[in-house]
C-alpha cells in the first residue's frame, strides 16, 4: 500500500515537472510573428484545410518571395503552395517535399536551384527555421541529420527548450501571447512585401576556383528527381530572377545540362527579363535580392501560363476551394493595404 502510494506521488511529481517543461518550451521557442518571420513559414503548411495542391514550390527565399499562389489562383485557378524558408538547403527542400507527399501528390513541383551552391548547411539559424516547423516524421528526422552543423545536437531539435533556454533574457509579451498559437505570416507560403528599392550597383560575383556543385547537392537533386518520377510528378527547375547572390554562368550550364539530361524543364528567369517584364527599379524591395509584390505578380503571371500549359487544372468553381481562396484573397488584400500604409505607398 505504502509502495503504491509512493509510486503514485512520484508519478504525479514527474507529471507536474513534464507539464512545466512543456509550458516553458512553448514559452521559450521563438514565435517568429514580428521581425524575423521566416521561421514561421514551414509550420503554416499544416494549417491548410485543403492540402490537395496541384503545384508545390520548394526552395529558399527565391520562391517564397518571388511567386504568389494567390495571384496564381486568381489569374489561373491554380491551387498551389510554397514550402520554403530562408536559405533553405536542397536537402531540406527534398525532405519538405517528402513530408508534403504524406498529405498529397501535386502534379507539378517547382524547385528553385539556387541552393545547389551549398553542399552542406552553413548556419544553424537557417536549419532551425526550416526544420523546426515540420511535424515529426521520418522525413524530419532525416532532415535533421542531413542538416545539422557540427555544433548542433539532435536532442535539441527533439527538446527545443535545450536550445532556446537562454532566451529567458529576451522574452517579450509576444512570447506569452503566441505561446500556443501564432498568427499566419504567409499567404500559402508566400511572404509579401509591397515596398520597392531599386537594384543599383549589384556586385558581380567573384571568380571561383571551382564552379562545380558539390556531390551532396547533386545527390539531393537526384533524389528529388527520382522521388517526383516515382510519384508521377513533373519536376520543373527554375532559377528565380534574383540579382544577388550572383548566379554564375558556369552554374547555369550545369543546371541546364542536368535538366536536359533528365528531360526536365529548366527556366532561368534571369535570362528572360524581357518576357517576364521584371523591372529592377520597381519590382524588388531590397535592391535586387527578392521580388516585391509587383515582381511576384509578374513572375506568377508568366509561370502560371507555363503551368497551365503543362496540364495543371483550373480549379475555380470548386466551392470548397473558392471559399478558401476567397478568404485567403481577402486577407491578402488586407495585408497589401496595411503594408501600403506602413511604407507610405499610394
Amino acid at each position: 500500500m505504502y509502495k503504491r502510494k509512493r509510486k503514485a506521488r512520484m508519478a504525479l511529481a514527474v507529471l507536474i515537472v513534464l507539464i512545466i517543461l512543456y509550458l516553458l518550451q512553448r514559452l521559450f521557442v521563438p514565435k517568429y510573428v514580428d521581425g524575423i518571420v521566416e521561421g514561421a513559414f514551414v509550420a503554416e503548411y499544416y494549417r491548410e484545410a485543403n492540402k490537395d495542391f496541384d503545384v508545390l514550390f520548394v526552395g529558399d527565399c527565391e520562391v517564397y518571395e518571388n511567386f504568389s499562389p494567390v495571384a496564381l489562383w486568381n489569374e489561373y485557378g491554380i491551387h498551389s503552395y510554397i514550402r520554403g524558408s530562408a536559405e533553405q538547403y536542397i536537402w531540406q527542400s527534398y525532405y519538405l517535399l517528402e513530408d508534403a507527399l504524406r498529405y498529397h501528390k501535386p502534379k507539378v513541383v517547382v524547385f528553385n536551384i539556387q541552393s545547389l551552391q551549398f553542399d552542406k548547411s552553413q548556419s544553424e539559424a537557417y536549419n532551425r527555421m526550416s526544420i523546426e516547423g515540420m511535424r515529426w516524421s521520418m522525413s524530419k528526422v532525416r532532415d535533421i541529420f542531413a542538416s545539422m552543423t557540427e555544433e548542433e545536437h539532435f536532442i535539441e531539435y527533439v527538446f527545443p527548450l535545450l536550445r532556446y533556454h537562454s532566451r529567458w533574457n529576451d522574452l517579450s509579451m509576444d512570447d506569452l501571447r503566441y505561446m500556443f498559437s501564432t498568427k499566419p505570416v504567409t499567404f500559402n507560403g508566400y511572404y509579401m512585401r509591397v515596398d520597392a528599392l531599386p537594384a543599383k550597383d549589384v556586385p558581380k560575383g567573384k571568380p571561383m576556383a571551382d564552379y562545380s556543385f558539390g556531390d551532396n547537392a547533386w545527390k539531393y537533386l537526384e533524389k528529388m528527381r527520382v522521388l517526383c518520377e516515382e510519384n508521377g510528378i513533373e519536376l520543373i527547375t527554375i532559377k528565380a530572377p534574383s540579382l544577388y547572390p550572383y548566379w554564375y554562368e558556369e552554374w547555369d550550364e550545369q543546371a541546364a545540362d542536368y535538366a536536359k539530361e533528365h528531360d526536365l524543364m529548366y527556366i532561368n528567369f534571369l535570362k528572360i527579363q524581357d518576357q517576364t517584364g521584371i523591372d529592377y527599379d520597381t519590382d524588388t524591395y531590397d535592391a535586387g535580392l527578392h521580388m516585391n509584390l509587383s515582381g511576384a505578380k509578374k513572375l506568377s503571371h508568366y509561370l502560371g501560363r507555363i503551368l497551365r500549359a503543362e496540364g495543371v487544372p483550373d480549379r475555380r468553381g470548386d466551392p470548397e476551394l473558392d471559399a478558401l481562396w476567397a478568404k485567403e484573397t481577402k486577407r491578402y488584400n488586407r495585408e497589401i493595404k496595411a503594408q501600403k500604409i506602413r511604407y507610405g505607398i499610394e
Binding site: H165, S166, N169
Partner: protein
C-alpha cells in the same frame, strides 16, 4: 565525452539501467566496460597509455606481494634457526629488491607522464638556456597529445603500488579488477585520487538497486551541474577575456579577474567533483570527498586541508613522508641537530621536504614555471606562517581575538584574498605576466572604469551577473548549511512535496539558467587540463 555533454548523460542513463539489471557479482565487469568505453571516447589511442600503466603497476604489485609472502614464508621456516642478524640482513635484502622493483615501475610510469606532459616544457627551458649562450637554434618541440586524466590516474596507480609495497593493502590479483580501479570513469578525468583501500571496498561488490542511493547520486550530480553550468561557465567569458591579454587588461580588470576566477574555479572544480561522486554514488560506489568548503578556511594551512583533499593527502603520504623519512634527510637532520641544535635540526628537514612537495604539487598542475612559482609561494607563505605561529598566538591571546566572530570572518576573508592572489598564477601563461598583472592592481588606477560604464564585460550583461550572483548566493547558503550537516540529508527528511519542489526547482534552474548549448563556449572542466 564531457560530463556536461548530452552524450555523457545518455551514456550514464543507459549504464545505470543496465547496471542494475546485471547480476551483482558481474556489475564490476559492466563498470570496467563502461570505464574503458568512456576513456576511449576521448580517443582510442589513449587506451594504450592507461593500459600500459595498468599492466605495469598491476604486474609490479603482484611481484611485490609475492616477495612479501615469500619473505614471510622464509622467515617462518627459519623460526628458531639462524641468527637475528641473518634474518635482519635477509629482510633488508628483500626490502631492497622490493624498493628497486617499485622504483623501476614508478620511474617508468612517471616517465610516461613526464614525456607527454613535460617534454616541451623541458625543451623550452633547454632552448632558453641555449639562447643565453648565443645558440639561436634549439631543440624542436615534440607533438604528443596528452591523455586526459593522466596526472590523476598515474598518481592513483602509484599510490596503490606504494601501499602494496608497504603492506597496507593486498595486491589485486585480478588484472581486470585492477584495471577498473585505475580507469573508473567518474574519477579518471579529474579525480578524486582514490586509495585502493578505500575505493575497492565498494567498487567490486554487487549493488542491488536502492532507489535512495540512486536518488542521492542523481541529486549530487544535479548540484554539480548547477555549480558548473549556472555559475562557472556563465562567469568564464569574463575571466577568459581578461586573461587573454595581460598587457591590455590591468588594474581593475586584473582585480575583477582574480576574484571572479577564484569563484569560477571553485564552482567548476567542486561541480565536477560533485558530478564524479554523484555518478559513482548512483552506481553504489563510494568515492571520498575532495572538498570541505575550503573558502571558509581561516589560514592557508587549513585551506589545503579542505581543498583538493585527495591530492594533498597523496602528496603528503607518497612524497612528503618518504622524502622526510629518507636516509638522506635523516642524515641531514642529524647533521643539523649536531651543528645548529635540536630546534633547527627538527624544522629544517621538514621545510626542505615541504619545499619538494610544493614543487611537485606545482609542476603536477601544469608544465609551466607559473605553477612552480605558485607551489613555492605556497611553501614560502606556509613556512612563514609556521614560524610566526607563536607570535600569532601571543597576539590572539593578548587581544582575545580568536573567539570573536568578526576576527574569524577577517581571517576567512584574508585567506580568501590570499588564495585569489595565488590563483592568478593559474590564469596567466608566464611568471612575468602574472607579476605584472598583480602589480597593476596596485599601480594602475583605472577603477573608474567600473563606475563610468566603460569596463569591458566580455559579453556578460547585467542579467548574467544577477544569475551568477544568485547562484553564488545559493552555493554559499548551502555551504553554510553544510558546516552543520549535509544539506542533502536535511532535505531528505522533508515531506515529499517539499523535496520534489527543491530538486525539480534546481533541475529547472540548471535547464534554464545553465550556460550550455549553442551560443555558449561550453568549457571543459578546468582541472581536466591538469
Amino acid at each position: 565525452m564531457l560530463f556536461t555533454s548530452y552524450e555523457f548523460l545518455f551514456f550514464l542513463a543507459v549504464l545505470v539501467i543496465l547496471y542494475y539489471h546485471t547480476p551483482p557479482e558481474k556489475q564490476w565487469i559492466m563498470l570496467l566496460a563502461a570505464s574503458l568505453g568512456f576513456y576511449a571516447s576521448f580517443g582510442p589511442v589513449y587506451l594504450c597509455y592507461i593500459g600500459t600503466t595498468i599492466l605495469t603497476v598491476w604486474f609490479c604489485g603482484i611481484q611485490l606481494e609475492k616477495n612479501l609472502v615469500h619473505q614471510k614464508v622464509v622467515l617462518e621456516e627459519q623460526k628458531g634457526a639462524g641468527s637475528r642478524e641473518e634474518k635482519k640482513n635477509y629482510k633488508l635484502r628483500q626490502k631492497a629488491i622490493r624498493s628497486r622493483m617499485q622504483a623501476l615501475c614508478i620511474v617508468f610510469n612517471l616517465g610516461i607522464l613526464a614525456v607527454v606532459k613535460y617534454a616541451n616544457f623541458f625543451i623550452a627551458n633547454v632552448n632558453g638556456a641555449l639562447s643565453l649562450f648565443g645558440q639561436s637554434e634549439g631543440l624542436s618541440f615534440v607533438s604528443i597529445a596528452m591523455p586526459l586524466g593522466i596526472s590523476f590516474y598515474t598518481l592513483q596507480a602509484i599510490g596503490y603500488l606504494v601501499d602494496v609495497g608497504r603492506g597496507t593493502v593486498q595486491a589485486e590479483k585480478n588484472l581486470f579488477k585492477f584495471a577498473l580501479f585505475v580507469s573508473f570513469f567518474p574519477q579518471v578525468i579529474q579525480g578524486p585520487i582514490s586509495r585502493f583501500g578505500d575505493l575497492s571496498k565498494t567498487l567490486y561488490e554487487g549493488h542491488p538497486y536502492d532507489p535512495q542511493t540512486v536518488a542521492f547520486g542523481l541529486e549530487r550530480i544535479l548540484w554539480g551541474f548547477f555549480k558548473k553550468l549556472v555559475i562557472a561557465d556563465r562567469l568564464m567569458p569574463l575571466v577568459t577575456g581578461i586573461i587573454s591579454d595581460a598587457g591590455a587588461y590591468q588594474g581593475a580588470y586584473a582585480a575583477v579577474a582574480m576574484l571572479v576566477y577564484t569563484v569560477e574555479l571553485y564552482a567548476d572544480f567542486t561541480g565536477g567533483i560533485d558530478i564524479s561522486i554523484g555518478v559513482a554514488e548512483a552506481l553504489g560506489v563510494q568515492v571520498q570527498e575532495n572538498f570541505l568548503r575550503p573558502y571558509f578556511s581561516t589560514s592557508l594551512k587549513e585551506y589545503w586541508r579542505r581543498w583538493h583533499i585527495s591530492m594533498c593527502s597523496w602528496f603528503r603520504d607518497y612524497v612528503f613522508y618518504p622524502v622526510s623519512t629518507s636516509k638522506g634527510m635523516q642524515s641531514f637532520a642529524k647533521f643539523l641537530r649536531k651543528r645548529f641544535g635540536p630546534n633547527l635540526g627538527k624544522r629544517l628537514p621538514v621545510y626542505v621536504s615541504s619545499c619538494v612537495v610544493w614543487f611537485a604539487t606545482g609542476i603536477w598542475h601544469g608544465a609551466r614555471w607559473n605553477f612552480i612559482v605558485w607551489g613555492w609561494l605556497h611553501f614560502a607563505i606556509l613556512m612563514i606562517s609556521e614560524e610566526c605561529e607563536p607570535l600569532y598566538e601571543r597576539f590572539h591571546a593578548r587581544f582575545g581575538l580568536i573567539d570573536r566572530k568578526g576576527y574569524h570572518f577577517f581571517m576567512m576573508a584574508r585567506t580568501f584574498l590570499l588564495v585569489c592572489v595565488l590563483n592568478l598564477f593559474d590564469c596567466y601563461v608566464n611568471v612575468a605576466d602574472t607579476l605584472s598583472v598583480l602589480a597593476s592592481i596596485f599601480a594602475v588606477h583605472n577603477w573608474g572604469l567600473l563606475l563610468d560604464g566603460s569596463f569591458e564585460w566580455f559579453g556578460l550583461g547585467l542579467s548574467d551577473f544577477v544569475v551568477a550572483f544568485l547562484g553564488v548566493g545559493l552555493m554559499l547558503f548551502v555551504s553554510i548549511q553544510q558546516e552543520k550537516e549535509w544539506v542533502r540529508d536535511q532535505v531528505a527528511r522533508w515531506p515529499f512535496a517539499a523535496r520534489a519542489c527543491v530538486w525539480s526547482g534546481l533541475f529547472l534552474i540548471v535547464l534554464i539558467f545553465g550556460a550550455y548549448g549553442i551560443g555558449y563556449d561550453s568549457a571543459q572542466f578546468i582541472y581536466n587540463r591538469f
